[in-house]
Amino acid sequence: MTVAGPTLSQRAQKLRRLALESIAAAGSGHPGGSLSAADIVAVLFFQELRWHEKDPLWPLRDRFILSKGHAAPILYAALAETGRIPEESLQTLRRTGSPLQGHPSVKDLPWVEASTGSLGQGLSIGLGHALAGKMDGLDFRVFVLLGDGELNEGQVWEAAMAASHYGLQNLVAIVDQNGFQLDGATDAIMGLGPLPAKWEAFGWQVEEVNGHDVAELQRALAIPRPRWEEKGRPRVIIAHTVKGKGVSFMEGNNAFHGRAPTPEELKKALWELGGEAP
């Protein structure tokens, strides 16, 4: 018998609310890219990731690396909602002395797996974990969440080349393709297309999904554990998302790339996200 808990969509909405509340409490942060990643993060944290509740370094854990480090609030929300960190700590985001640094810091918070925020680095770090897994014949998987603007960084493609060279079937890149970067639309700043063909050319298995369709994400992120006796390839999931997803006045509004909502905006946003009426 199973007890019906919140659905993954409801979980994602809760993560969005917690992320926005923490950003508002901090008075700064990045709402847009946090909201676009919420459904992906919810499916990973509430369904896919194998972890040990006491040991962030448990050797068999599935690794999750938030390469787009500015979406830290959605990661912290997931850590709180899964009991890894206390929910109250979300209110300390960006405060002096808090483990919840403006961008993830593994030194301050071991659950975040990698220090990110200088874009382009997460896939390489994930590659290192994946190489170690292959060396030791372990069956953990490594999920790295990248922004689409982040793909401008050459290092991402260095890592992409190496991952297919080493046949890292345990490495999964997820691109949160919300179509915007700081200065504007990704197509206007630095065209990425044709993105699936680029990853394919680098030797990756490519899948495109709607990054807000939880059922689709569940299916796509159910990556089989590596079977090292067989050859395999790394996989990329290109998730089509909406920047600011779930809040009408933030959706596709790049003004909310990197500014906190006002108290009034927060109230309205929380209500739209299934919170209490303002």
């Binding site: 220090s115 200088s118 770090i125 170690a132 890592a159």
Partner: protein, 316 residues
């Protein structure tokens, strides 16, 4: 005459092989230079623990951070200039800031790379490495010292950068050499002046001490193999007892080891100092010995600066 030994890169390659035999956690990454950095010995014996990452240093540094968090002890190698310059942001974020247990070994340090010219000559790697919080930094003078440094680096719980060089290095030590981070071996005692040197400048410093002895000056010679942390005790003691110091390095003076020594001594024991190193310039192609001559990285220049300090500031 001084007996020649292996290059420090050769000694690194051999030391790494020994370590690999003793400890299965040791893994090695190289950026398509393994036949030059000498990680090839390790690669040949332990192909499963050697990763050639191609000509992509940034990715190599990041991958090493991931390997270390998954329980390995990664050594990563390239030419010093490519490793430090192209992998710097990754060292900052994924290694220094993250306190990752990664060992970085830059070969072809300094202008003694020679004929390949400026693009391959690293004259800023020590400044860059030393600026990373938590990094330990070493620059051994010869083969035996390199072996000791590499063993110590492997089991220091944190990031380490080691600079090794291309040409054969005159022997300063006998096997097995002793090394500890934060210790500067006193290679020669003296009370008139101190010469603190590192890498290939150590044998030059010893020659300079011989030259000074012919003029009746006794120079103390320190090996600053541990660039960070410096041996504060030995340096301050030398400052107190000799009253003047020349620091000699195959590196830009800006941000180099001389500047670290100056910062230390100016706080605790201010004395007249002089510096031998690259003066706000790159070098060029040429034979290493000719380049050392042209850019003043010689025993003669060290001795000349030491004598000038002694005659100008002599108090006793």
């Amino acid at each position: 005459m001084t007996e020649m030994g292996p290059s420090t890169r050769e000694a690194y390659g051999q030391a790494l092989l020994q370590l690999g035999r003793q400890d299965p956690r040791i893994v090695v990454l190289d950026g398509d230079l393994s036949t030059s950095t000498m990680t090839r010995y390790f690669a040949k014996e332990f192909p499963q623990r050697f990763f050639n990452m191609g000509i992509a240093e940034a990715n190599m540094v990041g991958a090493a951070a991931g390997l270390s968090r998954s329980g390995k002890i990664p050594f990563i190698s390239s030419f010093a200039t490519f490793l430090m310059s192209k992998g710097y942001d990754q060292m900052r974020m994924a290694i220094a800031y993250s306190k990752a247990n990664v060992k970085l070994v830059g070969s072809h340090g300094g202008i003694s790379v020679g004929e390949d010219g400026v693009s391959q000559q690293s004259v800023e790697d020590l400044a860059l490495a030393r600026s990373l919080p938590g990094f330990y930094v070493a620059c051994p003078a010869d083969g035996p010292s390199t072996a000791a440094v590499i063993r110590a680096a492997a089991y220091h719980p944190g990031p380490v950068y080691v600079r090794v060089g291309r040409p054969p290095a005159p022997l300063v030590y006998r096997e097995p050499a002793a090394f500890a981070f934060g210790r500067a071996p006193v290679l020669r005692q003296g009370r008139d002046v101190t010469i603190a040197a590192l890498g290939l400048m150590v044998p030059e410093a010893l020659k300079a001490a011989d030259m000074l002895a012919e003029k009746g000056y006794e120079a103390r010679v320190l090996d600053l193999v541990s660039v960070k942390p410096l041996d504060t005790h030995t340096l301050i003691q030398a400052a107190e007892e000799t009253g003047a110091m020349v620091v000699a390095e195959e590196h830009l003076l800006a941000g180099g080891v001389g500047s670290a020594v100056a910062m230390l001594l100016s706080q605790f024991r201010p004395i007249p100092l002089a510096f031998v190193g690259m003066e706000d310039t790159y070098a060029e192609s040429g034979k290493p010995a000719e380049l050392f001559q042209k850019y003043g990285l010689t025993a003669e220049n060290i001795a000349w600066k030491a004598e000038a300090l002694i005659t100008r500031y002599r108090r006793r």
